[in-house]
Symmetry: C2
Subunit: 241 residues, 2 copies
């Protein structure tokens, strides 16, 4: 089957949504995969029986959702390529959803605790936990010259590295989305701290403690430490302690 | 400040993303809220210094993300209205992300267990749990004439009602997104069952058991029952039992 034969004419009042649905079904069925090139705008418009602007809008949406790679630099009308992992784009989407829904900080903190306790205790129970990525990030965060922003970026990657290594992709995806979603808020908090060097030293010690518990295969201790770490950071940053 | 003064000229190579960022920041800051009308396409294009098609594409993306209400029926060029809760759209997005990322069924089941154990045990500890919505859905599912599809839709709403009542919006949002995301897969499973009436009776009993534990304020028992319920359903549906 040629790529364009995968798509079928769109019927109904909302062609834009119908195109997204078709792409989703083709992805779910494994008929299109990351790295595949979709038919060009012109071919898709013919095949789907819709206008080229409609195809373009659907492609832009898929691009915003991280499902296809950006084609803007290549020029209009060119074929889109299916993207790999959609975590970062999903983060952008969750950020918008959180902005619209008005989630509260305590709810976000509790959800982080829930997802991250699960991740580190699962990792501590893994037969051969892969910890290289997390360890490399700890070394990166030892650099005393890091700005709070760069430290925070490495910190987020450390937590996501643990979740990735723990192996539940769904939990890792939600965790990284939530982290990307609250990034702006956390950076605002960090920017308002009186004594960043002290906080930063404490975060380093806590990170090493979490990893040590994982290395010791102590799932309960790893879960306890990650919870304490998350709650302490939010308490410091919001001025409770 | 007039609505158009909230927006500022877009700079850089990716105007489409810059527009999404501006909308997100305005939402986060509470400067635009659900129900508000955004400036018209024409006004936005002038204010942002971009073409009208670029504004239209950004609005379509926001529409796909559930951030603004669909304007298609009202006609092109009209002003978009900020939407309320973005759960359903977020579900569509997560569904695409899951399709791209190829999440496994065991990971999805474990994530459901994690989120739903948290929700019901939190609900069982609430001072005055609001259970009317969940109870009404149990009565709806007692109707012996329901098709598997309608039963399943009420079943999903029952689980989401418990999470909503539990009060952590972030967990409820992720749970409902995940449920919407796996809807097609679950309906395929249900459609392949030999003995739907038996499965259906068992699901009813299990639902009442979960609610009874919540009413008894037994958080551990409620968590245990919801986990057993989720795992048993996936085992039956995938033919393990």
């Amino acid at each position: 089957m040629t790529p364009e034969q995968l798509f079928s004419p769109v019927v109904g009042a909302r062609p834009h949504e119908a195109i997204l649905d078709q792409v989703e079904r083709l992805l779910s069925a494994g008929l299109i995969r990351p790295g595949d090139r979709l038919p060009s705008e012109r071919v898709l418009a013919e095949r789907l029986g819709v206008s080229r602007p409609t195809v373009r809008e659907a492609m832009r949406t898929l691009e915003a959702l991280g499902v296809v790679l950006p084609t803007q630099t290549v020029g209009r009308g060119s074929a889109a390529v299916v993207a790999g992992r959609a975590d970062a784009a999903l983060g952008a989407v969750l950020r918008l959803a959180i902005a619209t829904s008005g989630l509260s900080v305590p709810d976000i903190v509790d959800t982080r605790v829930l997802l991250e306790r699960h991740a580190v205790s699962r990792l501590a129970r893994a037969p051969e936990p892969r910890l290289d990525a997390a360890e490399a990030l700890l070394r990166e965060m030892d650099d005393a010259g890091l700005t709070p922003e760069r430290f925070h970026a490495a910190d987020v990657r450390f937590h996501i590295a643990l979740a990735d290594a723990a192996g539940n992709r769904a939990v890792a995806l939600m965790m990284s989305s939530l982290r990307h979603a609250i990034e702006g808020y956390v950076l605002d908090l960090v920017g308002g701290l009186d004594d960043w060097p002290t906080v930063c030293r404490r975060l380093r010690v806590e990170h090493r403690g979490i990893l040590a518990a994982v290395v010791d295969r102590d799932a309960d201790e790893a879960a306890r430490r990650v919870e304490e770490h998350i709650r302490a950071f939010h308490d410091v940053a919001t001025g409770v302690r």
